[in-house]
C-alpha cells in the first residue's frame, strides 16, 4: 500500500520531498533514471501536472536533468546537494521545533542534551 498524502501540503511538494529522500538514501542513484511522469501518475493516481511540477523543481534545483527521449536522470553530485540542504533544514527548522516541544513539556536544556546523547548511543 502507498502512504496516503498528508493534507497540510500540496501533493507536488510531498512528492518532491519523497524523491529527495530517495536520492539521499541512494535508492535513486546518481546517473540513474527516475520513473517517468506517466508511471508515477499511474502508480499514485495523481495527475501528470502534479508530477511534472515536482520534477520541474528537481530540475530547477540542479538535481536531475531531462534527456530528450530518454527521461529524467539524477545528476552527479545530487546526493551531496540534497544532504547539504537537508542538514540546513534540520538545523533551522526541525531542531528549533524539537527544542520548542521540549520547552513546552518542561524539559530543561541539560536534560534534553542528556536524552539526545543517550538516544545517539543506543542507535549506534
Amino acid at each position: 500500500m502507498q502512504d496516503p498524502w498528508k493534507d497540510d501540503q500540496p501533493i507536488y511538494r510531498q512528492l518532491h520531498e519523497r524523491i529527495l529522500g530517495l536520492i539521499l538514501k541512494s535508492a535513486l542513484k546518481e546517473g540513474e533514471a527516475i520513473p517517468s511522469v506517466r508511471q508515477v501518475a499511474s502508480d499514485y493516481q495523481i495527475n501528470h501536472l502534479t508530477v511534472a511540477k515536482a520534477y520541474q523543481e528537481l530540475v530547477d534545483a540542479g538535481l536531475v536533468e531531462k534527456r530528450r527521449g530518454l527521461g529524467m536522470f539524477v545528476l552527479p553530485g545530487a546526493r551531496e546537494k540534497v544532504a547539504a540542504s537537508e542538514r540546513d533544514k534540520f538545523r533551522h527548522q526541525e531542531l528549533p521545533q524539537l527544542v520548542a516541544r521540549a520547552r513546552q513539556l518542561g524539559i530543561a536544556e541539560a536534560e534534553l542534551i542528556k536524552m539526545i546523547s543517550k538516544v545517539m548511543k543506543e542507535s549506534d
Binding site: 493534507d7 497540510d8 506517466r38 501518475a41 499511474s42 499514485y44 493516481q45 501528470h48 502534479t50
Partner: protein
C-alpha cells in the same frame, strides 16, 4: 491553445425543470476535468449535449465541431462510457471487438486484445457471464483501443469494489492518457479522484457553482481549524461553511485573507469532498 470543449449559455429545460440553466465551459487539451454534482443536478444532460445526444440551446463546440450537426464526425474522435451497461448480454467479447473494428475507423483491435490479456476476461465469454468489474474492464479495453481525443466517463466506477476502481484509474493514466488527450469524468467518489483531476466543476440545479483549476483552489479557498475560544472571531470573517470537530470547528472561507486566518488556528486547502458539501449547502440556510 484551441479548447477541446467550448460552451456558452447552455440551456435545457425538461417541463418545469431547468436541467441546464446557462452554463459556460472551457476545457483545454491535456486536462482531466471532474464534473461533480448531486443526482439530478444536470451532469448527464451536460454530457449528452457535449456528445450530441441531446439538443440544447446555446453555443457549443467540441473539437471544433457542433455536436448537434456533426455528431458522426465528432464521435470518431470522442470515446464515451455510460453509467449504464449498454452492451447486449448475448454478445461475445470477441464479437464486440470485431464489431468495433468494423464500424470504428480509429479502433485498434490489437490494443484491445493486449489489454484484455491482462484481465481474467475470456474472448469466448458473453457479456452475460462477466462480473460487473469485468464488464467495466471490457468497456475500458474498448475505449482505450480507440485513438480518441476526448474521453467522456459517466460514473465509470459505480458499484465497483475498491480494487477494480484503483485498477481502472491506473490503467486510464498509464495506457490511455497523455498530453494530447482530454478526459471529462463524472463521479460521486470525489475523494478517490481528486488528486487525479486538473480541473473541477461543481454543478447544482443546472448551474455551475464552482469551475476552477485544481492548482488554483488554494488561492481561493482556505479551511481553518479553530478551537472553541476563537470560534466567534472566525465566524465574524464569514465562512461559507462550518462543521464541528474535536475541540472546535473546521470552517471554509472563500477569497479570504490567509494571514488573518492563520492568526486564529491551523489553515490548509480544503479537500474536494468538504468543499463540495460547503458549496452545495451554501445559501440553503438563508433560503
Amino acid at each position: 491553445m484551441q479548447p477541446v470543449i467550448k460552451a456558452r449559455s447552455l440551456r435545457k429545460i425538461y417541463g418545469n425543470n431547468k436541467a441546464l440553466d446557462g452554463v459556460d465551459l472551457d476545457l483545454l487539451p491535456g486536462r482531466i476535468l471532474g464534473l461533480i454534482g448531486p443526482n439530478g443536478a444536470g451532469k448527464t444532460t451536460l454530457l449528452k449535449s457535449i456528445l450530441g445526444l441531446a439538443p440544447v440551446d446555446g453555443d457549443i463546440s467540441v473539437l471544433g465541431m457542433d455536436p448537434r450537426r456533426q455528431r458522426t464526425q465528432l464521435l470518431e474522435q470522442v470515446s464515451f462510457i455510460a453509467d449504464t451497461a449498454i452492451l447486449p448480454r448475448w454478445l461475445k467479447v470477441k464479437q464486440a471487438l470485431e464489431y468495433l473494428a468494423g464500424v470504428h475507423p480509429r479502433f485498434d483491435k490489437n490494443r484491445a486484445q493486449v489489454f484484455l490479456q491482462r484481465t481474467q476476461i475470456q474472448m469466448d465469454s458473453t457479456v452475460r457471464q462477466l462480473s460487473k468489474g469485468m464488464l467495466t474492464q471490457l468497456h475500458l479495453a474498448l475505449i482505450m483501443a480507440i485513438d480518441s481525443k476526448l474521453l467522456v466517463l459517466d460514473e465509470p466506477t459505480l458499484g465497483l469494489d475498491i480494487l477494480y476502481r484503483k485498477q481502472f484509474y491506473s490503467a486510464l493514466l498509464e495506457d490511455y492518457f497523455d498530453e494530447g488527450k482530454t478526459i471529462l469524468i463524472t463521479t460521486h467518489q470525489v475523494e478517490e479522484i481528486e488528486n487525479l483531476l486538473t480541473d473541477v466543476v461543481f454543478i447544482k440545479n443546472g448551474r455551475f457553482n464552482l469551475n476552477i483549476a485544481m492548482d488554483e483552489l488554494h488561492s481561493r479557498y482556505t479551511e481553518l481549524r479553530v478551537t472553541d475560544e476563537h470560534v466567534p472571531q472566525a465566524q465574524a470573517l464569514n465562512p461559507i461553511h462550518s462543521r464541528p470537530m474535536l475541540g472546535g470547528r473546521a470552517m471554509i472561507f472563500e477569497s479570504a485573507d490567509r494571514a488573518a486566518l492563520r492568526a486564529l488556528g491551523e489553515i490548509k486547502t480544503p479537500g474536494l469532498a468538504d468543499l463540495f458539501v460547503a458549496k452545495m449547502q451554501e445559501g440553503a440556510s438563508h433560503a
